[in-house]
């Protein structure tokens, strides 16, 4: 075989298209021809370098954030009922807000009654405002806005990374 024929095969060899042992005639040629031997090594090295060219990765939270952005742009989140989520962190967060508001409402109501036992019945303007806030929280609770949860997870991941460094 001629050198150019061998070298055409060497690209396939380096590519891995011909797995395992080289064809005997190629082996024979390489044993006798230093130029083709050097070429075989150079091709392997070239493809190794090409294969190992590094790609910088975005920080880990990017992928979920990117999925979230695309889903929003495509309107997937409104239509998706969504699979059952393991732990509704968002619900707990809102439950905390609701509990705090309830406490404020309760204390205000009690304080109001305590301080003004003969006040006319019915909520004061302050109490009305607080109760309205509570209703807003309750309504939010009913919304299936998973983005809030994901934002929370993203922030938590970023925060833990910040601590790690």
């Amino acid at each position: 075989m001629r050198c150019d024929e061998i070298q055409a095969l060497l690209i396939e060899v380096a590519d891995g298209a011909l797995a395992g042992a080289l064809p005997p005639e190629v082996e024979r040629h390489l044993a006798d021809c230093g130029a083709c031997r050097a070429e075989a090594a150079a091709l392997r090295e070239l493809l190794r370098t090409v294969a190992q060219d590094p790609v910088p990765e975005p920080p880990a939270p990017y992928w979920a954030a990117s999925r979230q952005e695309m889903a929003r742009r495509l309107g997937l989140r409104q239509r998706a009922a969504g699979p059952a989520r393991p732990l509704p962190v968002r619900a707990w967060a809102w439950a905390g807000v609701a509990a705090a508001l309830l406490l404020v409402v309760g204390v205000t109501l009690l304080a109001g009654r305590g301080l003004f036992p003969f006040a006319p019945s019915g909520p004061t303007p302050e109490e009305t405002a607080l109760l309205r806030n509570l209703e807003v929280v309750r309504d939010l609770e009913l919304l299936e806005d998973v983005d809030i949860l994901q934002d929370y997870e993203l922030l938590r991941t970023l925060a833990s990374q910040g601590r790690a460094t």
Binding site: I11, A31, A40, L47, A51, D53, W63, M70, L76
Partner: protein
């Protein structure tokens, strides 16, 4: 391992909106890497990969299933990459140097990063089809059959493209990689 393409396609066809998010989750890293290979720029690669998914979603009703889902996604991304024009040359040198591990053996690391920068520049200078073939075959690890599907050509053409690409790279990179003549044959 992610959900098989067939299962994802079944869910997509059944109108399961969460299925497309599963498609994104399965391929977003691959498409980002592919786009980075072309642009050598993280932000451009992120944008292109996202744009590819958005286009794929809109084109979904026209996806006939003759090619596989991933080769179709690759094809969309590749088209975006080939049409993507930036006003400057690839930032190969800067980025690969920044990535080189400084220790241990800083000298070897530097030599390697210089070599990688030269290889990146050589790949960038190839004609589009050859460039795509090298990236898909060597860097993304796809089969010639899959590459043929992505580039919409025969497997023979894909192999020929690869052959010419390697030859061209070899010619453009004389002096790189030819140092070790010792372990020539296995």
């Amino acid at each position: 391992m992610h959900e098989p393409d067939e299962a994802l396609l079944g869910r997509l066809r059944a109108g399961d909106a969460s299925a497309f998010e599963a498609v994104i989750a399965a391929y977003q890293r691959d498409l980002y890497r592919l786009a980075y290979r072309f642009t050598r720029n993280m932000e451009d690669a992120k944008d292109l990969a996202q744009e590819a998914f958005l286009r794929a979603y809109r084109a979904l009703p026209r996806f006939d299933g003759r090619s596989s889902l991933y080769t179709w996604l690759y094809r969309i991304t590749l088209n975006l990459c080939l049409n993507h024009r930036r006003g400057k040359m690839p930032e190969a040198t800067k980025e690969t140097t920044a990535l080189a591990d400084p220790a241990p053996g800083a000298l070897e690391a530097l030599a390697e990063s210089e070599r990688q920068a030269a290889v990146a520049a050589a790949i960038a200078s190839l004609p589009p089809q050859q460039r795509a073939t090298v990236i898909l075959r060597v860097q993304q690890g796809l089969s010639h059959k899959a590459i043929a599907e992505i580039l919409d050509c025969s497997e023979g053409t894909a192999k020929a493209n690869f052959f010419h690409a390697v030859r061209n790279l070899r010619a453009r990179l004389q002096g790189y990689g030819a140092q070790e003549g010792s372990d020539a044959v296995r």
